[in-house]
Amino acid sequence: MSTALAESAAGGLNPLRQTKPRYGEKVIRGILFAAAAVSIFTTFGIIVSLLVPSLEFFAEIPLTEFLFTTTWTPLFADGQFGVLPLVMGTMVITLIAVAIAIPLGLGSAIYLSEYAKPRARKILKPTLEVLAGIPTVVFGFFALEFITAFVLKPIFPGIQVFNALSAGIVMGIMIIPTIASLSEDAMSAVPSGLRDGAYALGATKRQTALRVIVPAALSGIVAAFVLGISRAIGETMIVTVAAGLQPNMTLNPLEGMQTMTSYIAAAGAGDVATGSIEYKSIFAVGMLLFVITFFMNMISIRLVRKYRQAYQ
């Protein structure tokens, strides 16, 4: 009966109905949606621009040769396309970098999170942020000109001008802010109740930090490590400047070696004929690099979500 009232009480159309169709709002919503979708276009673009030439590459060079042989001479007449030297180079430098960045980064994070007084924190934290903001080409320059010449040469007289150690050390320091800030986020997210409870039981800061906080923040800390490793693998300028451009299948950090990234940079910046197999090799290596870092990033993102959910 009330519906009848509604229909006939004023005998006409509902005055609250939409009089103007508000096209403007619909158009705006469409524009905004398109803007948000650009990021999807980016991912799609990356995958397509890597995939097409890579598939062409692997039509000529079998995947097994690419992944499992150890000679990388793409520019020779009868080029060999075994990517292992590049992967090896990447791994050696990454290992050095991570061996520095993880302990120093985690240590810095624990200090900032559990020990530093607010005033000290106000100065120290931004300093790390400054370190993070320095362009990587500057780090490369510093590695080549200073670290190799003045720090490493005195210790290892036989060290080459281009060497993995210098690049690895500098890259390690460069990654410290990444690991430190993400680890610190994870540690701050640990409820203060846990901390206070430990102190109340008479634990020292050291015991609390090591036995309570770090385990509680572990997934976030591991996420930080994974992200740091991913950054090391994907870093280009430092290795291009300081580690040389010679593929080198070795574990000796005193020698120079080419990485996946510095190969892409060198080949891409040089005059490589479009459509040639050398040209396509850039994309094949790029594909490998993308796949490796993609998986590491997904792991890191999952881990971050895990600890965020745990404390929220």
Partner: protein, 295 residues
């Protein structure tokens, strides 16, 4: 006064239908609209409000009269604010919120598919618990509503008129360009009221408008309300029983049913003239609340 019937009151004459409503058969014949009908601003029939699967408010049937102040009272968590927000479709902003039953404004279903919520909100304004003035000047706060609604008016005059009606003009007239944040809490709430009436609504909904104000500011707002009721219909949600007793002509008392899982669902218990609610309530739960035995 308008002919509003309390559905829970004992039925008396045969003019009334079984649910205690107006007899509308005359209207259905195409007759002239009785004065009484247009004096009903809101007509609720078995209104339920859900958030997803959770039923926040159940079975509300009531009518709100024009140029009256109607108060919703009751303990926390019984859906008063939720119900209020469904009057101007502000609940639409919460994902999963929906209204069932009929909520009619002058006889028209507010939730009909062809209804424009923007238009609804222009006619049915709202004042919130914490004064939410915009981070702009006093002038711009009042001028905002008319501007976005495309009202072609002399803005300076309109701003002055609204600030005067909101009993704020004398305090701010010397510097309308001052930031709204520079005002005190009570002044900000009056600015919100001025802003609200600038779009020429018919109804002003108030959700605990004095909750964050001191007693003096509260008294000013209450006086203002009584003045505003001459031109507007006001529905106010309040935790303050004395306030409801002071300002309103009708009061609706809500409570919460707690189900087997311990979840609270709001419902309307009793609704009628304020005097009766506070002196001779029909329902024992109302009596308990009024006398302070719970809530």
């Amino acid at each position: 006064m308008s002919e509003i019937h309390d559905p829970h009151a004992p039925q008396s004459t045969s003019d009334l239908t079984n649910t205690g409503r107006m007899d509308v058969s005359a209207v259905l014949e195409g007759a002239e609209i009785p004065e009484a009908v247009s004096n009903i601003v809101f007509d609720l029939a078995n209104v339920q409000v859900y958030y997803g699967d959770f039923q926040a408010v159940r079975d509300v049937t009531m009518q709100i009269g024009r140029n009256e102040i109607t108060a919703f009272i009751g303990p926390s968590g019984c859906g008063k604010s939720t119900l209020l927000r469904s009057f101007n479709r502000m609940n639409d902003l919460i994902p999963g919120a929906r209204v069932e039953g009929l909520l009619a404004y002058h006889g028209y279903d507010i939730y009909a598919p062809e209804v424009d919520p923007i238009e609804v909100r222009r006619r049915i304004g709202m004042v919130f618990q914490k004064p939410n003035v915009f981070p702009k000047s006093i002038y711009e706060n009042v001028a905002y509503g008319p501007k976005v609604n495309g009202m072609k008016v002399n803005m300076d005059d309109l701003v002055e008129e609204c600030l005067t009606k909101a009993a704020l003009w004398d305090e701010v007239k010397d510097d309308l360009k001052k930031s709204a944040y520079a005002l005190s809490g009570g002044q900000q709430q009056r600015l919100v009221i001025a802003r609200c009436i600038a779009v020429k609504p018919e109804v002003i909904l108030m959700d605990e408008p004095c909750a964050s104000l001191d007693p003096i500011a509260t008294a000013k707002i209450e006086d203002l309300m009584k003045e505003l009721a001459k031109d507007y219909t006001i529905v106010i949600v309040t935790h303050n029983m004395q306030q409801a007793a002071r300002v309103s002509e009708r009061t609706a008392f809500f409570t919460a049913d707690v189900d087997a899982q311990g979840v609270r669902h709001g419902r309307l218990v009793e609704y009628g003239p304020t005097r009766r609610i506070f002196t001779a309530p029909h329902d024992p739960r109302t009596e308990d609340y009024i006398s302070g035995r719970f809530g």
